[in-house]
């Protein structure tokens, strides 16, 4: 790795797999369930969280020596809330339809436990560059799961990917639908997201036995 030292690279790569915030730490589940029925909102949510967590981690890290420890949680909250309001306003100004679709979930980034968790656990104790990498890595790990779940839910729930028909048109009975294939309506509902996340966790743990906790 020319650009990043091995340690730095691990900051990004770890959360993608063996320390994934969703599948290993099981954080940020609520938003993962709510917005993954389609791929487009999943990707937008992932990008928004990458922005908020990357920038937020740097800001918290820069301020880590001057934040009074008594009010540090409130300071973290203000930083997240500010960044989220910026994301929300920018979406409303430049991508109005999408901001309507994501509506309350953008606001819910504030309560995404991954963000406060990284601020508290990492950015308060490390320098800005490391914190930035850690933020990007965790947000990417979160986004990766979001996109995977969104992929399966949109494909089997609506028969489309990014809105493009994959299996043919269900109304005109073309493509696969001509042979009696039906979309699985359950895929579109939030419980199915939990099941898909569960399957990902299962697959991941059976491939890497180290991740299984001993009882």
């Amino acid at each position: 790795m020319g650009l990043l030292s091995r340690k730095d690279a691990n900051l990004i790569l770890d959360p993608l797999a063996d320390n994934n915030p969703i599948t290993i730490q099981v954080l940020g589940i609520c938003s993962a369930l709510a917005i993954t029925a389609k791929l487009v909102p999943s990707v937008v949510m992932a990008v928004s969280v990458i922005f908020v967590l990357g920038v937020g981690n740097v800001i918290i890290s820069l301020m880590r020596n001057i934040i009074p420890s008594k009010i540090r949680i409130i300071v973290q909250l203000i930083v997240v809330a500010t960044l989220v309001i910026i994301v929300d306003q920018v979406l409303k100004a430049f991508s109005y339809e999408l901001s309507k679709e994501l509506s309350v979930f953008i606001g819910l980034i504030i309560t995404n436990c991954i963000i406060m968790g990284r601020f508290e656990a990492f950015a308060l104790g490390n320098g800005p560059w490391k914190s930035f990498l850690d933020g990007i890595g965790n947000a990417l790990g979160y986004g990766l799961i979001l996109v995977v779940v969104g992929f399966f839910r949109e494909l089997f729930g609506s028969g489309t990917l990014f809105g493009i028909e994959i299996f043919g048109n269900p109304v005109e009975k073309s493509g696969l639908y001509a042979y009696g294939y039906e979309n699985n309506g359950f895929m579109v509902l939030p419980p199915m997201a939990l099941i898909v996340v569960g399957i990902i966790i299962w697959v991941q743990r059976s491939r890497n036995k180290d991740l299984i906790e001993e009882n």
Binding site: T82, K92, V171
Partner: protein, 249 residues
């Protein structure tokens, strides 16, 4: 740096400075983006009004696709021929009546001495005169609103509904095509008297073939949203009845 970050005075000063900085930053951003956001909101209203009139880019049977942004203004100017509002029985021309905020008007109308402004947009489509009315009411969780296009006999030619926070898969279905399309052809009148339109369960007409029953089929699992929608239509559309009566004469 030898700052004692544990001192109470430091904590208070830090909090104050932080709040001021964040406040300035956010209000600055809001000011910069406001023109863009307002333009988007205006465009959304225009799209919704056109959609209620049946001017859209639907292709598939379940599509709800609005007129695209680049031709929106042109279409709006072509199809909407007259904009005005009714206030205390008077018709007042207002070329930007679609910007009247129904929510604020309703608030003002709580004072009985105030006559609510009732915006109405007259349009022509396929040689037929249409009147589009904005409506606003309460669903289960939050506000629901929409636009209703009728001809001069108060028979619905098209509707558009939207909501702020109804349950996805249940109440949120009011903005789905299959629900909105059910309203087409229904009349607000029954034997010349205003009746409204009920969103009814078990009305023995699930395919909605009977267009004279003042009823559309309800959405399963969305009783309160449906009732709210029916109330919204009854209350808001009723205010326009004198105007349509005057058209008949």
């Amino acid at each position: 740096m030898a700052i004692n970050t544990e001192k109470n005075s430091y904590t208070v000063i830090f909090a104050v400075v932080m709040v001021v900085v964040v406040g300035l930053l956010l209000s600055g951003i809001s000011q910069v983006l406001k023109p863009n956001i307002d333009a988007n909101k205006r465009a959304e209203k225009q799209k919704n009004i056109l959609y209620a009139m049946g001017v859209n880019e639907n292709q598939g049977a379940n599509d709800v696709v609005f007129v695209s942004d680049d031709i929106l203004q042109e279409k709006f100017d072509t199809y909407i021929t007259e904009q005005f509002y009714l206030q205390g029985g008077e018709k007042v021309d207002d070329p930007e009546a679609y910007l009247i905020d129904i929510k604020k008007e309703k608030k003002k109308a709580e004072d009985p001495s105030y006559d609510q402004k009732l915006p109405l947009f007259k349009g022509t489509k396929d040689g037929k005169d249409l009147y589009v009315m904005p409506v606003r009411g309460k669903g289960l969780w939050d506000a629901i609103w929409g636009f209703v296009a009728v001809d001069e006999t108060m028979t619905i030619q098209g509707v558009f509904f939207d909501h702020k926070g109804e349950t996805p898969g249940l109440g949120a279905e009011i903005k789905q095509r299959y629900f909105m399309d059910d309203f087409e052809g229904e009349s607000f009148l029954d034997d010349g008297q205003f009746e409204g339109i009920a969103v009814a369960k078990g009305n023995n007409d699930p395919k909605n073939e009977d267009k004279s029953d003042n009823e559309v089929d309800a959405l399963a699992g969305a009783t309160i949203t449906g009732d709210g929608l029916a109330t919204m239509l009854r209350k808001d559309v009723q205010k326009y009845v004198p105007f349509f009566k005057s058209l008949q004469n």
